[in-house]
Point group: D2
Chain length 346, copies 4
């Protein structure tokens, strides 16, 4: 057994407590600090029975030689400063999504980490769920065939954020999942975004993103803070099978349908000839694979430990966070231009 | 009791049999003919026990003085010719959606009917369902407040049409509903459409339409022939309440949620000041109003009779069909321009 | 092609119109009469365009040599008289469930039919659905292993019948299905029934039946006229797999779960020793087999024709109707005795 | 602010950790010990960062003067000994369901606590959920009218217990809820239980309980360890409205239906006359009341503190636990007698 990795959590707001709980439960880590500008909040999160240190002073944390890694759950606008300070103090860094407030900021972090040989990992939590893991397998193994379309709906009566719009709040989940599950060589190349702010909140509360992939496939995201009903469903249509992920259906999160439409024509025919052929319909069984229920955050924290120990980048490293930022920036540009198609920086 | 109106149904394909059944069940009508180029098909629809006439000759039907009205359920591309012939023969006309293959064609029909004082009605069947009727009431009465957004999903493993894309096949339903339920003065002004043809069918099989309304509200439609699961859900977000219509949930098709987000600030404040105020969240009850189950087509047929008898235009007259065509044409233009915003002709 | 079998439908009430429609749609039959004591009702069902004869005189129907078969959809209390008259007139007979009002009456019909070499068939419609057909296969083929338990819920806001209680109204569905799907040699041997009449309707409106099978398995039915929600779900637990049939979920009516509990012990050990062993849990995939949607009544009508043509008893012959009556009578006896266990006559 | 009440949790198995977490989160308590015969297990539950004491010695806990209350989450068979020891040491006691292994044992505990003026409370957790609280209100306020029937289904692929059957494992939930929600004066008077052990586990794994209430109403419970699907639905039919509680539907746990059957006859008519009258059907709206999501265990722990502070019995005191035991014992007797009706001791 290795010595546990000393870790500190920065930020005791919405997400911080989840990190605290999971680092405390992970044998690979020793949680030394919970740091928040609001010391009382940090103390409240730790509770009255904890031996973990509470502090409001980041310097203290970064000066602690026992701390080898830092997990940052502060507002996106502060990620650059906090993460940069941590990297410069020689700490491995885990950052909440989005990696940073801009692509340029994210790039600074990636380059700083790479130049120092430190881990920079994004907490793209969904990528560590059994469901998303199964989706990745289904796309990588060829079970679904070629990706035809991906349609994701993530709507809820959500907290209207003060600093970011609904796209920057919710779409990072879907974009990080997309980044995670796409087979090698399949990438989004352009994006169009439409949004609305019907409650006059000062930022989009409803948004639709359409992504064009380099293969001709289409991905579409619906994110919405104003829906009274909660929906978290993604349909992943493939040439062979289609997978439906309903994250709110715990007993059947993933369903793989052998149903679809085929163009029944030999490949060697020209397009015109193929279209003239009859299309045919598959109407086969549906399989809902058994998935082991586990807390995704626990698996994510485990990956962080592995990355630190081995020096290998994690599956959701800084580069993946950068790719998500590239799409978000393009989407924001499109939104400002009334939905114009904007290319995604590669 | 009035003498029944003599009626003929043209087209014995997918929808024709439904019209036949409903005209036969309506006291106000006397069904005299079912006409189809394929006489065997017409005979098969009527069955071995019927006294209704089958024919493959439209002229015979139009020459029959006992026929006062004609219902057309032929492919969209033929609507202009068949309907024009019927109008010119002095018959009232009911047409399947879409009214015609182009806006220009539709306009010809509307003008012909108006100049002759004949009814031209679109079979926008959904508008005659209790659910859509309830939605119209909810928007017109102010129960929902101002419309904030409308999001509709109509997906299924659908028949890939040979002559039209998924947008022209399925979106007429949603667009006719939208036209029907919007309060006076609220209209779509521009549209952006994205689509994909991943199975190489020669036309879009997946499409997303974003409509901008003149009030700043947004409407978004997702239509899809390739989905293994069937979804028919529309969310209508209002400033006071939000209505969810799930047409596949027969015991709870319509649900009205008193849940939402409010900007808790006096109207007289400027936007900047209002944004600084706290938003607040309503989390009230949901009410699923009792709806009488009835076949929409029966109600539609009844409306047709009423329009003929009274000379008043029906709720889904030719003009409403034209408005739907205007949006479809703009959407097709946008689709061809990779999602560019296209204004809707008023 | 054989000459169509001349058929008459007796009873134009709730179910009769469905029989009329299906006989009219079946090539194997020629529908000659619809007979009802209320001639106006019969005429209304046939409509204004039909060449089928309407009559209120059963004698006329039975005297018609062109009528070879009669389908009876009158109240249960009249089945004996009507069916007996039909059989004595040499007609094959199809009877709505339940076969008759008592076991003794049912037996008379069965014996009359058998002595005359005529078909007596029960319209156990559910047995002709793809779902129940699939269930039968799953139990007969060994896919589910041995039957452990069957739990059925059939509740709704139902019409309170004037002549029969909820058990006689709804349980025939479940009992005929049970009779249909059980493997050879597995039979109900005793029943206990509990009920309540909370609205003071004069008969049980809520009832629970517990059936003991000769194998030690248990079957339980919940039938209820007073539920505001509609549920039609049957769970069929087997030693290898468990099948769930949700008849209100058209896209996933049948689901086969490879989930369950096993006692992980060699068969040769005694019970005591086996219990001491650890139980283990299977948590495998679920498969929802593709089922062809078709109208069950059409398949039932087809079976009736086949039985008449071949002289072979149908899958739901009079004997199966008798077995259902045997259980219903035992259940009524139990209900009257406050739930006492009552043996089922074999 | 009062001084926190010193508390110890006994038992670190399945439920203990939940108690630990909730006592740690409650300001009214100071958690001093977690005690388990398996010291390692206790330590593991507390984790590496806790200042709470772990011990395997109950005597140490009971001898600690700082401990005023003890929460017992050990197997049912040990409740008598542990709780009795705690009461005799002058501690208030909270016990997991069921209160004890037998009615006689439970009675000993109740009498011991009452004679000493100590609180004895049952952790009937569900009674502290917003849903059950709403149900109690609906029955007590008359919103539902008189109770007609209650139907509860609690099935799952559950852990086959080594010491108790499925009835003693799961039915205490439903019976404690029933005890909690019934209006004053409405009580179960007799029970019939049917069960099966198809996997040869040595105890019933599937069971059905039918309860007769003194008002003529019926309550029915289905508990099952062998179901691959999880269902937790209770229907509470009343003379005015019917409430459906689906605990697995977080966004619509409670729904109140204004749907039902009425016998439309003046009360002064005799039964015979009323039955002759037409029944009528209500088909009104459904309302899903907004419920505040909160952890029930937190509310339960708060009630325990209040009871200790005020000396007033809690809503789920020892007497309520006894009433549940009375029904369970009668049900076991019925099960052994093949479903015979057994009176419930009052």
């Amino acid at each position: 057994m290795n010595t546990p990795i000393g870790v500190a959590v920065i930020g005791a707001g919405y997400w911080g407590p989840n990190l605290v709980r999971n680092f405390m439960g992970a044998e690979a880590f020793h949680l030394r600090w919970l740091c928040d500008l609001d010391l009382g909040r940090a103390r409240k999160v730790l509770g009255r029975y904890s031996t973990v240190g509470a502090t409001d002073d980041l310097e203290t944390v970064l000066a602690d030689d026992g701390v080898q890694a830092v997990a940052i759950a502060t507002p996106a606008g502060t990620h650059l400063d906090v993460a940069l300070a941590a990297l410069r103090a020689g700490k491995h860094v885990l950052v909440e999504k989005p990696l940073a407030a801009t692509y340029a900021d994210g790039l600074k972090l990636v380059e700083e980490a790479e130049s120092r040989g430190l881990q920079l990992m994004c907490d793209h939590t969904y990528c560590y769920t059994p469901a998303v893991s199964r989706i990745r397998d289904a796309l990588h193994s060829g079970e679904l065939g070629e990706l035809h379309y991906l349609d994701s709906v993530r709507i809820n009566l959500g907290l209207v954020q003060r600093d970011i719009d609904v796209m920057w709040d919710l779409a990072p989940h879907d974009l990080s999942i997309l980044d995670f599950v796409l087979p090698d060589g399949v990438v989004p190349v352009a994006v169009s975004a439409h949004g609305a702010d019907p409650i006059n909140a000062g930022r989009a509360c409803v948004a639709y993103l359409t992504l064009q992939l380099n293969t001709g496939a289409i991905a579409h995201l619906h994110v919405n803070w104003l829906s009274p009903i909660k929906v978290r469903t993604t349909i992943i249509g493939g040439s062979k099978r289609t997978l439906v992920w309903d994250d709110l259906n715990p007993t059947q999160r993933v369903a793989v349908y052998d149903r679809g439409v085929d163009v029944a024509a030999p490949e060697e025919l020209g397009d015109e000839a193929r279209r003239a052929m009859q299309v045919s319909y598959r109407s086969g069984d549906m399989v809902a694979p058994a998935l082991v229920e586990r807390e995704a955050l626990g698996a994510m924290v485990g990956q962080f430990a592995t990355a630190i120990r081995t020096g290998e980048p994690s599956l959701t490293d800084g580069r993946s966070g950068l790719r998500v930022l590239a799409i978000l920036e393009a989407a924001s540009k499109s939104l400002a231009q009334n939905g114009a198609i904007v290319e995604v920086a590669q």
